[in-house]
Amino acid sequence: MRLLKTLRNRLRLFSLIVVLVAGWVGAAEKNPQSVQVRIRTILAGNKSDEFDPKLKDMEQQLKPLKYRSYRSLKDDSQNVPWQGTKSFEIPGGRLLTVAPQEYQNNRVSLKVRLTEGDKPVLDTAVGIQNKGNFILGGPPHEGGTLVLLISAAAQ
């Protein structure tokens, strides 16, 4: 039947395209060139009941911290090369420095340092799922507490 023949030819063409694309994507995944690091800085407090709409996608992750209000202060993204470093300004004279180490089994290893002025406050090495995140919180700021959502995606 003409339909079956046409369908078969189209399926062959699409299969070829899918295999080529999958190969390209797979190759890109095996050798990511850099990491896009995103730092979302949030001010958590108990003086009001405000929930910043910009943080809607993080609501489930923030609610367990049990603060009454959450406000987005900053949202920064930077591409960081492997073994390189990039620093992000954090309110209160702080700096967060991120250094991606390696990518293996869909996980990104990061070294993270938080400094206040020139004093180191925290050094940590974490492994997170590619495109996943973790929270670093606790530093005080303007009557509330800073919560940093740190995410990384291999490019």
Binding site: L3, Q60, P120, V121, G132, P140
Partner: protein
């Protein structure tokens, strides 16, 4: 001057009167000097005559009123509720559309599966593994929130640097 191959492809359209003036002239000029193409023209004309005879002879005459009664009957006939839906759907599923739609849908599904976009709702997160941590003497808590699979590193306030704002901060780390 066009070659015989090109002329033979145009003879049918020339006989149909569908070529432009310039193209017609080109065909006519070629036929004036090419006996092979003239033979092609003759065979095509003979086939056209035979086609017309085969398709139109005999020409059965339809009696109009009985034909009209058949049309009227259909118009007055009550249709089942699903007939209109079937008619509409028949128009959608033509062979060329199906031939493109099926592989396109398969391709899209493969792309979605490979890029995790298909996962609906919920967090795509998994727990971060904390391999080392140094807080330079400060207290720290390491917490895991089960529902969103979020790892939380919580720094306690440095007691010496405490100010009035400290009352608003969580004196103890958030508990899950």
């Amino acid at each position: 001057m066009r070659d015989c191959e090109g002329i033979r492809e145009s003879i049918g359209s020339w006989l149909d009167g569908e070529l432009s003036a310039a193209e017609s002239e080109s065909v006519r000029a070629h036929l004036a000097s090419c006996s092979d193409c003239v033979e092609t023209q003759r065979r095509l004309e003979k086939m056209q005559l035979a086609l017309k005879a085969a398709l139109t002879s005999p020409a059965p005459q339809i009696e109009f009123m009985s034909f009209w009664r058949g049309v009227e009957r259909r118009i007055n006939q009550k249709r089942a509720w699903y007939d209109d839906l079937l008619d509409w759907s028949r128009g959608l599923f033509t062979a060329p559309r199906v031939a493109w739609t099926v592989p396109a849908v398969i391709g899209i599904l493969l792309v979605l599966v490979s890029t995790d976009v298909w996962r609906l709702g919920g967090s795509r997160n998994s727990f971060a593994s904390v391999e080392s941590i140094d807080t330079y003497g400060r207290s720290v808590a390491l917490l895991r929130e089960q529902e969103t699979k979020t790892t939380v590193i919580w720094l306690y306030q440095d007691q010496e640097g405490e100010n009035e704002a400290a009352e608003d901060t969580a004196k103890s780390a958030p508990t899950f």
